[in-house]
């Protein structure tokens, strides 16, 4: 059996990649992809713990999380499409309508 620490390490690496992406990328699409990465790292954790503890609850949560991620991605893409129509760009540097 593969020790759990490897799963956790994989999840941590994926999470960090996602985090790095969110903080550095300019394109909205890429940032959304990075958010997916972070969510998936969490899913890996959930599934890993679930199988480790022989308890299916974690996997159920992972399924919920995947479904939510899909919804979130759909909404995120919709927002980005709308933004692109308005501003002709999806670079977040140029989208600062929340600013004072």
């Amino acid at each position: 059996m593969i020790p759990i620490v490897l799963y956790l390490a994989l999840a941590a690496i994926i999470f960090s990649i996602g985090l790095y992406g969110i903080m550095t990328q300019r394109s909205g699409i890429r940032i959304l992809m990075c958010v997916e990465l972070m969510l998936n790292s969490a899913n890996i954790n959930l599934v890993a713990f679930s199988s480790y503890h022989h308890d299916l609850t974690g996997q159920v949560f992972a399924l919920f999380s995947i479904a939510l991620a899909a919804c979130e991605a759909a909404v995120g893409f919709a927002i980005l499409m709308a933004l692109y129509r308005m501003k002709d760009t999806i670079s977040l540097d140029h989208i600062n309508v929340l600013r004072w």
Partner: protein, 670 residues
């Protein structure tokens, strides 16, 4: 049911009368005067019965107390001191109310008048009955409010409105001192009890206060580098209150102006009740005063000085009522002197002062009511326009002369023949002599003797100018109705014989208050605490001392008779604006100018305005500093709001990371 249980009704009945008269008075004839008259008459009967009972059994003090806010109480206490005051106030007030039905018959708002006098009487009676100093202060303030209402009764007149405000504000200075004294006293007692007060102990009750005098005296305060015992501080503050209410120098300025109210109000407030509240306060807290040597000395000096000072102004006034106002101030000075000499004669001083207070209430109320009778009939109170009034108003003239004889203290020393003023005033002057002998300070005695001469001059000047000679102007005039002359006659009877009848019993009776009726109380040991040794009544005073006050009074009579009766001395040469002394007296020592131009304008307006402006600027600066800092902080924090989602995400991640690290570190440490 024993009459003692009805004691609480004494102030309650007039208070009820106030409410009834206020709401129903307009619908009743003579403004509903019957309500307060009936109420006060009942109070008078109750007071008289209690007093007679106390006279027979001095130990049967009426004392009822109910708790209020755990360590305070409301309650009544009728000891000899309170009993004589109650009887006098209800009696004089009753006569004045009856007289008022005649005097106020032409007024527009008699029901308001009677409602206010009833409330006034109620608060004065409440003041006298109080068994604790806080309740006394509450009634003290009520009396002040009522005097404001009554002095400004004819509020349409600007001068009356001003006088009312002046009376209210001037006495307020004293009231603030009084309240400060109570606060100091309360905190001292609280300290003495170490903050744990047993159930059923009410620390502002007089017996509780008196039981702890020596403890209070042990507390010292450092004021401007001087070690002052707290008992001295408290008593001086109390005396400050008394100075305001009783019109003593330098807070006497309100009293002459207060003559703007109806004359009956002057008789009620400025003869029998409110102005005596200060004397009563000092008498009531006398055990504290006797333990405070400096305070009693101040009382004696202020009293004696006021007696003379007010007399000098009385001799040049041309307004009937103002002469009497200065006379009142002067006589109150005598009463204060009578209390002040307590350093020499002990608790007897209370008896002496109270005796003069009671006698004064009779003859001064009589004087005011006679003046009111003249004013009512003639329509003027300028003595320069009067003259020969005795012919048209014989009863008024005779009663007024009787009152004047009582005021000057005519009587034969060594016998019990004399007007009531003779017994009380001479007793004060003699104890002032004793005071001089014991303590070596003769000034109070000399001032009081000089004041006796002035008393005689100003009052006989008033008599001669008003009642004798030829009328100076053409006035009609008629004798007043019976509702007015009957009270005058009754008061005249009292002014004539009360002193002689009671002089022996009165003093011992009132002194009982402090001899038998308070626990842990021994006047001479308290005096020792204050550093006094009470004088032994060894040996008689020189015979001259006994005769001197009478000689002074007769000298005053002769002088005024020569000037105003026979007109040997031409007054026109003296009474002129060129005579500097006359000018000084006539302008009342320029006190108005000093108080208005210097104290109000220079000190209060400009001084306080300057201080206020400085403080204001300080606050402005602080407020501005705060607003600036807030604005700038906002300005710089605003920069963080970039609108870029990534920056926010970075901030969140940084924050969460820092939190995790923090929690980690804290867990490690723990």
């Amino acid at each position: 049911m024993a009459v003692e249980n009805l004691a609480f009704l004494i102030p309650v009945l007039p208070a009820l009368a106030f409410v009834l008269t206020f709401f129903l008075g307009k619908k009743l004839p003579t403004g509903g005067a019957i309500i307060p008259i009936a109420a006060i008459a009942t109070s008078f009967v109750i007071s008289l019965l209690i007093t007679l009972n106390l006279l027979a059994n001095p130990e049967e003090v009426v004392s009822q107390s109910y708790s209020w806010f755990a360590m305070l109480n409301i309650g009544i206490l009728v000891d000899p001191l309170a009993a004589v005051m109650l009887t006098m106030v209800t009696f004089v007030s009753l006569l004045i109310h009856i007289y008022s039905t005649g005097y106020m018959s032409h007024d527009k708002a008699p029901s308001r008048y009677f409602a206010e006098t009833a409330l006034f009487t109620a608060s004065m009676l409440g003041l006298i009955l109080s068994d604790n100093i806080l309740q006394l202060f509450i009634c003290w303030e009520l009396v002040g409010v009522c005097s404001y209402l009554l002095i400004g009764f004819w509020f349409q007149k600007p001068s009356a409105a001003t006088a009312a405000k002046k009376a209210f504000l001037t006495t307020r200075i004293g009231d603030v001192m009084f309240l400060t004294g109570i606060i100091v006293l309360f905190s001292d007692l609280y300290k003495i009890f170490n903050g744990t007060i047993p159930d059923g102990v009410f620390i502002l009750r007089f017996d509780e206060i008196f039981a702890h005098i020596s403890d209070i005296a042990a507390i010292n305060a450092n004021i401007f580098g001087m070690e002052v015992s707290h008992i001295t501080l408290i008593t001086l503050l109390f005396f400050g209150g008394a100075v305001g209410k009783s019109g003593q120098f330098p807070l006497h300025v309100w009293l002459p102006d207060a003559m703007e109210g109806p004359t009956t109000v002057s008789a009620l407030i400025h003869a029998a009740t409110m102005v005596t509240a200060g004397v009563y306060l000092v008498a009531r807290t006398f055990p504290m005063f006797i333990a405070a040597p400096d305070s009693l000395m101040v009382v004696a000096y202020v009293g004696a000085f006021t007696a003379l000072f007010a007399g000098t102004m009385g001799i040049v006034m041309n307004d009937l009522k103002r002469v009497l106002a200065y006379s009142t101030i002067s006589q109150l000075g005598y009463m204060m002197l009578g209390l002040g000499v307590g350093a020499a004669v002990g608790s007897e001083a209370v008896g002496i002062a109270l005796f003069h207070l009671i006698n004064h209430a009779f003859f001064k109320a009589l004087l005011f009511l006679c003046a009111g009778s003249v004013i009512h009939a003639v329509g003027t109170h300028d003595m320069r326009q009067l003259g020969g009034v005795a012919k048209v108003m014989p009863i008024t003239a005779i009663t007024m002369i009787i009152a004047s004889l009582a005021l000057t203290g005519m009587g034969i020393p060594g016998t019990s023949i004399g007007t009531s003023g003779f017994f009380s005033k001479d007793a004060i002057i003699e104890s002032a002599y004793l005071f001089g002998e014991t303590t070596g300070s003769w000034i109070p005695y000399l001032l009081s003797i000089a004041a006796a001469l002035l008393t005689s001059i100003y009052i006989f000047r008033l008599i001669f100018m008003t009642f004798y000679g030829k009328p100076r102007t053409d006035y009609g005039g008629h004798e007043s109705p019976a509702s007015m002359t009957i009270p005058l006659s009754i008061l005249a009877l009292f002014a004539l014989v009360f002193g002689g009848l009671t002089s022996k019993t009165f003093n011992t009776f009132v002194s009982e208050t402090f001899v038998n009726n308070f626990v842990n109380m021994d006047i001479s040991s308290l005096a020792t605490l204050g550093g006094y040794h009470l004088a032994e009544h060894a040996g008689e005073e020189p015979i001259l001392i006994l005769w001197l006050p009478l000689i002074m009074a007769l000298a005053g009579l002769v002088i005024t008779f020569l000037i105003y009766g026979l007109q040997i001395v031409n007054m026109d040469s003296i009474v002129s604006r060129n005579n500097p002394i006359y000018k000084l007296l006539y302008n009342r020592y320029y006190q108005n100018a000093i108080f208005t131009n210097f104290v109000s304008v220079k000190i209060i307006y400009e001084g306080f305005a300057f201080a206020g402006r400085a403080v204001d600027r300080g606050f402005d600066w602080i407020v501005k500093w705060f607003s600036d800092v807030t604005l700038e902080a906002g300005e710089s924090l605003r920069q963080f709001q970039t609108g870029a989602v990534q920056n926010y995400a970075t901030a969140v991640i940084t924050g969460v990371s820092l939190l995790i690290i923090l929690v980690k570190v804290v867990m490690e440490v723990l």
